[in-house]
C-alpha cells in the first residue's frame, strides 16, 4: 500500500505541476490571475475531440491544433480585453472568471455532457512496478511534466523571449527601460500559459472523460498549488505540487477519499494565514509593504 501510495503520489504531483505551471507563468509575467484557466483546459479537450470525431483529423494533428487554438485564443483575449483592465486586479479576476464560466456553461448548454467524450491515450497497457500495476499513460504524464518543466527552464534561460519573461517578472519598469515591450511580453505569457494547460489537457484527459465540470476542479487545484508555492515562482510551484500531491494521495489512502478536496483548500488557508506570499513567492510580506 505504501509503495503504491508513493508511486501514485508522484503521478498526482506531476499532474498538479503540469496543470499549475501555466497559471504561474501567466501571473508571474503579466500579473493577471487567469480565472478562465480551467475553461482553457476544457476548450482544448473538446476542441481536439471535435477535430478528431466530427472533422476526421488524425489525433496528433487535432491535439496540436487544439493547443495552438487555445494559445492564440488566450493571446487575443489578453490583447483585446484584459489589456484594458491591466493593473485593476479585481476587474481582471472578475473578467477572467466570467469568461471561464461563460465558456464552460456554453459547452454544457450545447450538449457536451455525459461520459462519451474521450481522447485516445498515447500509450496503452500497464507497467508492473514492484507489485503495482501503473498504466503507461500515467507514467507518460510524469514524463511530460518533467519535460515541460525542463523546457520552460531552458526557454527562460537561453532565449531572448524567455529572458524577457524573467525580466518582466522581476521588475517590469526596469525591463521597459531596457527596451522590453511589456504588453507584448505579457500577451506572449498568456499564450504560453494557455499552451501549458492545453498540453496538460492533451495528456491527462485521455485517462478519463472530458466534462465541462472539470474546468472548476482544474482552477481550484492550480490556485492551490500556486498560492502554496508562491505566485510567480516556478520552483515554488514544483515544491507545492509535491506537497499537495502527496498530501492528497496519503489522505486518500489512509484517511478517506472524500477528504481529498479539503487538502487543497486547507493548504490555501494555512499558507494565507502563515506565509501569504507562499513558500518561494516574490510578493513582499505585509510589514515590508507598509
Amino acid at each position: 500500500m505504501l509503495l503504491g501510495t508513493l508511486i501514485y503520489g508522484l503521478i498526482t504531483s506531476a499532474t498538479l505541476a503540469l496543470l499549475s505551471i501555466g497559471f504561474n507563468i501567466t501571473f508571474g509575467i503579466s500579473g493577471v490571475a487567469n480565472f478562465a484557466y480551467g475553461a482553457l483546459y476544457v476548450i482544448t479537450g473538446f476542441g481536439a475531440w471535435i477535430l478528431c470525431n466530427m472533422l476526421g483529423f488524425p489525433y496528433p494533428l487535432a491535439a496540436m491544433f487544439a493547443v495552438l487554438f487555445s494559445a492564440l485564443f488566450s493571446a487575443l483575449v489578453y490583447r483585446f480585453f484584459l489589456l484594458r483592465l491591466r493593473g485593476m486586479v479585481l476587474s481582471e479576476v472578475i473578467a477572467t472568471f466570467a469568461m471561464g464560466l461563460a465558456i464552460l456553461e456554453l459547452f454544457r448548454y450545447s450538449g457536451f455532457i455525459g461520459s462519451s467524450y474521450t481522447l485516445p491515450v498515447f500509450f496503452e497497457g500497464s507497467l508492473f512496478i514492484k507489485g503495482i500495476y501503473v498504466d503507461a499513460q500515467r507514467l507518460f504524464v510524469v514524463g511530460i511534466a518533467a519535460g515541460a518543466t525542463l523546457l520552460l527552464w531552458l526557454f527562460t534561460r537561453h532565449t531572448r523571449t524567455g529572458r524577457a519573461f524573467r525580466a518582466i517578472s522581476q521588475n517590469e519598469f526596469t525591463a521597459m527601460t531596457l527596451g522590453i515591450d511589456s504588453d507584448w511580453t505579457a500577451t506572449l505569457s498568456m499564450a504560453f500559459g494557455a499552451a501549458y494547460v492545453s498540453l496538460a489537457a492533451i495528456v491527462i484527459l485521455p485517462l478519463g472523460t472530458i466534462s465541462p465540470m472539470a474546468g472548476y476542479g482544474i482552477l481550484i487545484n492550480a490556485l492551490a498549488v500556486c498560492i502554496v508555492g508562491g505566485l510567480g515562482s516556478t520552483g515554488g510551484v514544483l515544491i507545492a505540487s509535491l506537497i499537495i500531491g502527496y498530501a492528497q494521495q496519503f489522505t486518500e489512502s489512509y484517511v478517506g477519499t472524500h477528504w481529498i478536496m479539503i487538502v487543497s483548500l486547507l493548504a490555501i488557508f494555512l499558507v494565507l494565514c502563515i506565509r501569504p506570499s507562499g513558500l518561494l513567492g516574490h510578493q513582499k510580506e505585509l510589514e515590508e509593504r507598509i
Binding site: T5, I113, S115, S116, G208, I260
Partner: protein
C-alpha cells in the same frame, strides 16, 4: 350617455373575448402545461425532457387529452434548475420550481428535480400550490416516507424507481455471482451523495446479513477523478466483487483504471456511464464483463418486451440519438401517458380529482405494469405483467449490453471476464 353605454359594451365584449382565449366553447382549457423543472444540463435531465416531449407530441398528434368534451393538447415548459451542479444551493434550485408553477403556469410537473435534496425540499412547494408532480429521477426513499406521513404531500408521486429498488437489483446481482462462481467477498465504492450513501449502507447491511463479507466502503465526492488508492485497497483486501454506486461521468475513469491496474474483481452495482450504448467505444472495450443495474430496465431496448422496442425506435427517430442513461427517461415518457389517463378519468384538471385518479392507476406500458403503492411510488419488480421492470445487464465481449436479470427478460447468464479466470 351614448358614449358611456358604448364604452361599457366594448369593455364587456373585450372581457368575453379574453376569457374565451383561456377556455374553449365547452369550458375546457386551451392547453395543459406540464412543467419539467430539472437539471437539463445533465444527460438524465435532458433525455427525460426529450422523452416527455416525445410523449406529448404523440398524444397531441392523436388529438390530445379528452377533457370536458374537448380534446386539449399538452405543452411542456422546461426549466434548468441546475440542482445537480456542485455548489448550487437547494434554495436556488427551488426558486426554479416555484417559477415554473407561478410564472410558467404549469398545472402538473413531470420529471422533477434531479437531486433528492432538492426534491425533498420541493415537496412543500408542490403541497402549497397543489401541483401534482410525477417525479422520475430523484430516488431517495424519504420522498415516499414523507408522503405516507403527511397527507398534504398527496400531490407528490414517483414513477421512477427509488433507492430501495436499487438495493434489490444490486443484491440480486451479488447472488448471481455467488451462485455461479462462489464469490462472496465484496468491496463497496460509492459517490458521496444522499441516496448513494443510503444505498451503500443498506447494501452493506443486507449483503452482510446474507453471507457476503463486506471488506470495506470508500466514498468519493462528486467530480472525483482519483481512484488509485481506493482500487489499491480493493486489490489488497482480496475482494472478488466491487459494488460500484455512481451517477457521475468520472466514474467511468474508475473502471478504466481498475482495468489498467488489473484489479481481480468484477464490477456490479450502478455506474451511470456504463448505461450509454456507446460506452464500449468510449472506454476502449475495457468494460467487458461489467455488470450494471438498470433500475428502470425499460431505459434500454428489451427483446422480450416489445413496447420498449417501439419506444426506443421512436426516441431515436425523433431525437437522432438513443437513450444513453439508465434513470428517468422511460418513466418520464410513461408519466405523461399516466397523467393523460388520470386527467381523462377525472374529466377535470382539479388537482385533488386528478390525484384521486392517479392513485387508481393500473397501466401496462413501457415500464411494465404501473401501479402506485400507498407511498405514491410505482412498484418495481421482475414480472412486467405485475410490476414495472428492474434488472441487470452485463457488457458482452462483443460490446453489447445483454440482459442477465430478471429471468423474465434475461438473454444470457452472467459470465466471468478473462482477467478473473
Amino acid at each position: 350617455m351614448k358614449r358611456s353605454i358604448f364604452t361599457c359594451l366594448l369593455a364587456v365584449s373585450l372581457l368575453i373575448i379574453l376569457s374565451l382565449g383561456q377556455v374553449n366553447a365547452a369550458g375546457a382549457p386551451k392547453e395543459i402545461i406540464l412543467g419539467v423543472p430539472t437539471s437539463l444540463g445533465t444527460l438524465e435531465g435532458k433525455q427525460s425532457h426529450m422523452a416527455a416531449q416525445l410523449a406529448v407530441e404523440e398524444i397531441n398528434n392523436k388529438g390530445g387529452v379528452k377533457i370536458g368534451g374537448a380534446s386539449v393538447p399538452f405543452r411542456i415548459e422546461a426549466l434548468d434548475i441546475r440542482d445537480a451542479s456542485p455548489g448550487v444551493p437547494v434554495p436556488e434550485a427551488l426558486l426554479g420550481l416555484q417559477k415554473i408553477i407561478l410564472e410558467k403556469k404549469a398545472k402538473f410537473i413531470v420529471v422533477g428535480p434531479f437531486r433528492s435534496e432538492a426534491i425533498l425540499a420541493g415537496m412543500d412547494i408542490i403541497a402549497k400550490y397543489k401541483t401534482p408532480m410525477l417525479a422520475t429521477i430523484a430516488a431517495s426513499p424519504a420522498y415516499g416516507a414523507k408522503i405516507l406521513k403527511d397527507p398534504k404531500y398527496k400531490y407528490c408521486f414517483r414513477v421512477g424507481a427509488d433507492g430501495r429498488h436499487m438495493i434489490g437489483g444490486m443484491i440480486s446481482s451479488l447472488f448471481m455471482f455467488k451462485q455461479k462462481f462462489g464469490f462472496n467477498k465484496v468491496y463497496i465504492l460509492n459517490q458521496d451523495v444522499a441516496v448513494m450513501r443510503a444505498v451503500a449502507n443498506l447494501v452493506k447491511k443486507i449483503a452482510g446479513g446474507k453471507g457476503f463479507k463486506i471488506l470495506g466502503i470508500e466514498r468519493f465526492l462528486t467530480g472525483s477523478t482519483q481512484f488509485s488508492s481506493a482500487l489499491m485497497k480493493v486489490k489488497a483486501s482480496g475482494a472478488q466483487i466491487i459494488v460500484s454506486i455512481f451517477d457521475m461521468p468520472e466514474s467511468g475513469v474508475m473502471i478504466k483504471q481498475a482495468y489498467a491496474m488489473k484489479i481481480p474483481a468484477v464490477f456490479v452495482g450502478m455506474t451511470t456511464p456504463m448505461h450509454d450504448p456507446s460506452a464500449w467505444k468510449t472506454f476502449d472495450g475495457k468494460i467487458a464483463g461489467v455488470t450494471n443495474e438498470m433500475v428502470e430496465l425499460s431505459n434500454m431496448p428489451l427483446s422480450k418486451w416489445p413496447k420498449s422496442l417501439v419506444f426506443h425506435e421512436a426516441f431515436k427517430k425523433r431525437w437522432g440519438t438513443p437513450v444513453r442513461v439508465g434513470k428517468g427517461v422511460a418513466p418520464a415518457y410513461e408519466s405523461v401517458y399516466i397523467l393523460k389517463a388520470a386527467i381523462e378519468r377525472a374529466d377535470s384538471l382539479d388537482p385533488d380529482a386528478v390525484v384521486t385518479e392517479l392513485e387508481k392507476t393500473d397501466y401496462v406500458g413501457l415500464l411494465g405494469r404501473t401501479k402506485f403503492d400507498k407511498a405514491h411510488q410505482v412498484v418495481y419488480g421482475s414480472d412486467p405483467t405485475k410490476t414495472a421492470l428492474i434488472g441487470n445487464y452485463q457488457w458482452s465481449k462483443e460490446g453489447k449490453r445483454v440482459v442477465v436479470s430478471p429471468k423474465s427478460m434475461a438473454e444470457a447468464e452472467v459470465w466471468l471476464p478473462d482477467y478473473m479466470k
